[in-house]
Symmetry: C2
Subunit: 225 residues, 2 copies
């Protein structure tokens, strides 16, 4: 009966993180979310219960969290704002590719719908962020994903890098230095055993790049058949 309320910013941060983690595993574990958000598990659990009360997520005890349709559409609105700001920061303000994700995290909660719409129009209604991730349209529809994780490529296959999910500055810097930007052409040369790295040759680079499996699961590609 208690109508718990909370700030929309906190709600949005949780929904966005859940949406991103759902791309990797579903349902999302409380501990994953806690690590991602940098808060303790009990704190996450408390928030998750409140989100569940608002029908934004469903929580299965001891299993994890998933977004409801409502939660998903709220999350897409956040992702739209976030990715539009990223485009603006890179295309208009010429800020570095690796850094804009963090800047956009601050801006994503602070723009009124009218501002978001005007921004999208100014940018020419882009459909991907600078890291290749799709920008939902104003109605909340997201282009279908057809790319696969680099991790699932087979040795010898070639592919074009499409997008990178879970954009930490440190990861993006690592990838940028090795030419692993959206659009890059690459070939999977080798996969080391025992959860070892994947060796990837990037067009135009002398040395192959070594990518851990964690990273290779977050880099998406279109394989050239």
């Amino acid at each position: 009966m208690a109508t718990l309320s909370f700030t929309s910013e906190t709600v949005e941060m949780y929904l966005k993180s859940i949406a991103e983690l759902e791309l990797l595993t579903t349902p999302v574990a409380i501990s994953q979310l806690a690590q991602r958000l940098g808060v303790s598990s009990p704190s996450v659990l408390e928030m998750v219960k409140r989100l569940a009360e608002q029908k934004l997520v469903t929580h299965t005890p001891y299993k994890g969290v998933s977004l409801t349709a409502r939660g998903h559409s709220r999350a897409l609105a956040v992702l739209r704002r976030h990715r539009l700001w990223e485009r603006f920061l890179v295309d208009t303000l010429r800020l570095p590719w690796e850094a804009v994700h963090d800047y956009a995290c601050q801006l994503e909660h602070a723009a009124a719908p009218a501002v978001v719409d005007a921004l999208a129009q100014f940018l020419g209604e882009p459909d991907t962020c600078p890291h290749g991730n799709p920008i939902p349209d104003a109605k909340g529809a997201m282009p279908a994903e057809t790319a696969i994780p680099l991790l699932t490529m087979e040795i010898g296959q070639s592919a074009r890098l499409t997008n990178i999910i879970y954009e930490e500055t440190i990861l993006l810097e690592y990838l940028a230095r090795r030419g692993l930007l959206p659009g890059a052409m690459l070939t999977l040369e080798d996969v080391a055993p025992y959860q070892g790295p994947l060796m990837v040759r990037v067009d135009g680079f002398d040395h192959p790049a070594a990518l851990g499996r964690e990273i290779a699961a977050r880099v998406f590609v279109h394989v050239i058949e």
Copy 2:
């Protein structure tokens, strides 16, 4: 000894409001600040005491609050961000002059220094906001004000409107409909007695505009000698 801390956003909102109210009266009364911020007087007092502990303001009991040098420079940084966003929203996104103040209030706390600097550069280092108020430079220096409140004009004098402080949407809409935008030329035709309105003729408009004294104190002009 207790090192009270709080979110920088709250601090900034308080400092900005104090800075703006100091233009009208100084020191700023607790109740003025409470009305401006939309919170209760005890809440304001509590925050003011903390700000005083951090040497951002000085509080004289039963008198009011003033910014210290430190507080003033923090406030100018907020005003810079705010006014740069306003310029962006009007000049780049073509959003309405009356509405951008409110949008900028949300954005002003959410931009990293690198973003603010890049934005200023993109906009061509403007020195006023769309409402005519000066934008402090990156070092925190503000151009000196030489304009006077319209309220202090004498009947028959002509002047050019320079800026409007304390920008509420409803006030800006009222002024915009009567041509009272920065740059407008006007003549003070009459002043009604008993705190009555000032009658102002605006170049290019048939009917004189009536401005209450509260408003006339917030519209600044350069008198044509």
